[in-house]
């Protein structure tokens, strides 16, 4: 029943898929819930605090409580806002972020993974779609901070999409496939995580990914000290929660992607594949939290300069180097 990837479509495989989808949804929600908690905990620890600890043992239910609180909060739609778009924007942001999870190979059996032949590009395409939600959310709020935040967000995200895509090409080049399962297999075959032959690419990727996620030090769009809360200034209650959810689901997807592309995905000795995957993804999460505690925010103009004048050329150089490397390897 779980082998729906290779089975003909029957009602039972369809059911299996549906279950798979729901499982991933729950997983994503769980990861987000505890990702947020872990973020607050890690930040607290790094700042000499203990972080949330009141709700549930060790504060484990803190996020749950937060979500419940948001759930029963009033849903305020400003009078000046463009109502339909205002309501739609969080959904528009959330759906692509969630869909991006569909191609991440969580485990060796890839039960919960759509093994499409264009996985990498699929991911890239969806991450571009998320921008719409952010931008329209900012626009529909009809608020100056939101609008600036939304436009900035969009400009930043789409700018960093380019080096992100370029760094992924290097991986595709080495793996010879866009299917993420194949990428993992190629790393097993090579006996080396791609972080080593693609170190430059990895650096570009990790910077671009951080920027794409709007996380410190690239969290300008919601630079609270300048723009209050960026594009979701006017959002409240559960609608705001969906923007947050999007952000963290996207973080999860990016963690999965990093693990898959550069850290060998589910491959690794002794432990089961999914655990390896979880460890690697957790490492990405931790890295992001760590950065957040350390870095000041980069300035808008420097942000763009970094993207177009540093990362993009680096990405191109990486690409050419990888191509030469591969050509030499093929000959040799």
């Amino acid at each position: 029943m779980w082998q729906w990837q290779t089975q003909p479509l029957t009602w039972s495989t369809f059911l299996a898929m549906l279950i798979g989808t729901v499982v991933i949804l729950l997983l994503a929600l769980g990861v987000v819930t505890y990702g947020i908690l872990a973020e607050r905990k890690v930040l607290g620890w790094m700042q000499g605090r203990i972080g949330p600890n009141r709700v549930g043992p060790f504060g484990l239910l803190q996020t749950v409580a937060d979500v419940l609180k948001l759930f029963i909060k009033e849903d305020v739609v400003p009078a000046a806002a463009d109502r339909p778009l205002f309501l739609l924007a969080p959904v528009l942001a959330f759906v692509p972020a969630f869909m991006a999870l569909a191609v991440i190979p969580f485990s060796m059996q890839h039960i919960f993974t759509a093994g499409i032949g264009t996985g990498l590009l699929y991911y890239l395409a969806l991450s571009a779609l998320t921008i719409h939600g952010v931008m329209l959310g900012g626009w529909a709020s009809n608020n100056k901070y939101s609008l600036i935040g939304g436009m900035r967000s969009a400009a930043q995200m789409l700018s960093y999409e380019v080096p992100l895509g370029l760094s992924l090409v290097g991986v595709a080049l080495l793996a010879g496939s866009l299917n993420l399962n194949d990428v993992v297999r190629a790393q097993q075959h090579l006996g080396l995580w791609f972080i080593i032959p693609q170190f430059l690419g990895f650096c570009v990727f990790i910077v671009a990914a951080t920027a794409e996620l709007n996380r410190t030090p690239f969290d300008l769009p919601e630079a609270e000290s300048e723009l209050v809360a960026g594009y979701h200034t006017e959002y409240s209650g559960f609608r705001w929660a969906f923007f947050m959810l999007t952000e963290y689901v996207y973080l999860f997807a990016m963690a999965g992607l990093t693990a898959t592309l550069f850290l060998g995905g589910w491959s690794g000795p002794w432990l089961p594949g999914w655990l390896w995957f979880a460890l690697k993804a957790a490492a990405f999460f931790f890295f992001q939290f760590w950065l957040r505690n350390t870095m000041p925010r980069i300035r808008a103009d420097q942000l763009m300069t970094l993207c177009w004048k540093v990362l993009l050329p680096l990405g191109l150089v990486n690409l050419v180097l990888t191509a030469v490397l591969k050509a030499v390897l093929l000959k040799g």
Partner: protein
């Protein structure tokens, strides 16, 4: 009638419905931003259709370029001009009526032509990808048979970039 057949057809009709609904919405919306969104829907629907037809790469490319890049570009252009631009509620002018009639008649004739033809049905034994993944096959074909057009694409893009930059950039002294 295998279940597959029905599944494909259902998918096709759903997608068509979605595409046409979005297209009609584009025509009927008043706010320009909404129109841009509706068009985004059409683009995504088309992508789904391509994927249904087995053109995986083209489908994803459609999402990347049309739904991702172009729609964003349009939104940016809207924000740079009149945010609140709306199509005015205008009475039927002669021209509009003529356009409607013309398009309708054109559509009807095209449909008649399509109906009147015996179209070849794809030969299932032929694998257009020659056993490779769609991306790989496209890559090979693109870089072997379509080398010159490919290079021209880069030229075109560069020229478009340069041209658009010249056009869009503010003149000195404007600021």
């Amino acid at each position: 009638m295998s279940p597959l057949w029905s599944a494909q057809m259902i998918a096709f009709f759903l997608i068509s419905l979605f595409i046409l609904a979005c297209a009609v919405m584009m025509l009927s919306f008043r706010k320009v931003v909404y129109m841009a969104l509706a068009v985004g829907g059409v683009f995504i629907g088309c992508a789904a259709l391509y994927i249904l037809l087995g053109a995986e790469f083209v489908g994803i490319a459609q999402v990347v370029v049309y739904a991702g890049a172009i729609t964003i570009l349009i939104l940016f252009a809207i924000m740079l001009t009149n945010h609140e631009a709306t199509e005015p509620e205008e009475p039927w002018t002669v021209r509009k009526a003529l356009a409607a009639v013309g398009c309708f008649l054109l559509g009807v004739t095209l449909l008649f032509v399509i109906r009147g033809q015996a179209w070849p049905q794809g030969d299932p034994s032929v694998d257009v990808n020659q056993g490779m993944s769609n991306t790989l096959a496209i890559g090979e074909a693109l870089f072997k048979s379509y080398m010159i057009p490919f290079e021209l694409v880069s030229l075109l893009l560069t020229v478009a970039l340069v041209g658009a930059v010249i056009l869009a950039q503010q003149r000195k002294g404007d600021q």
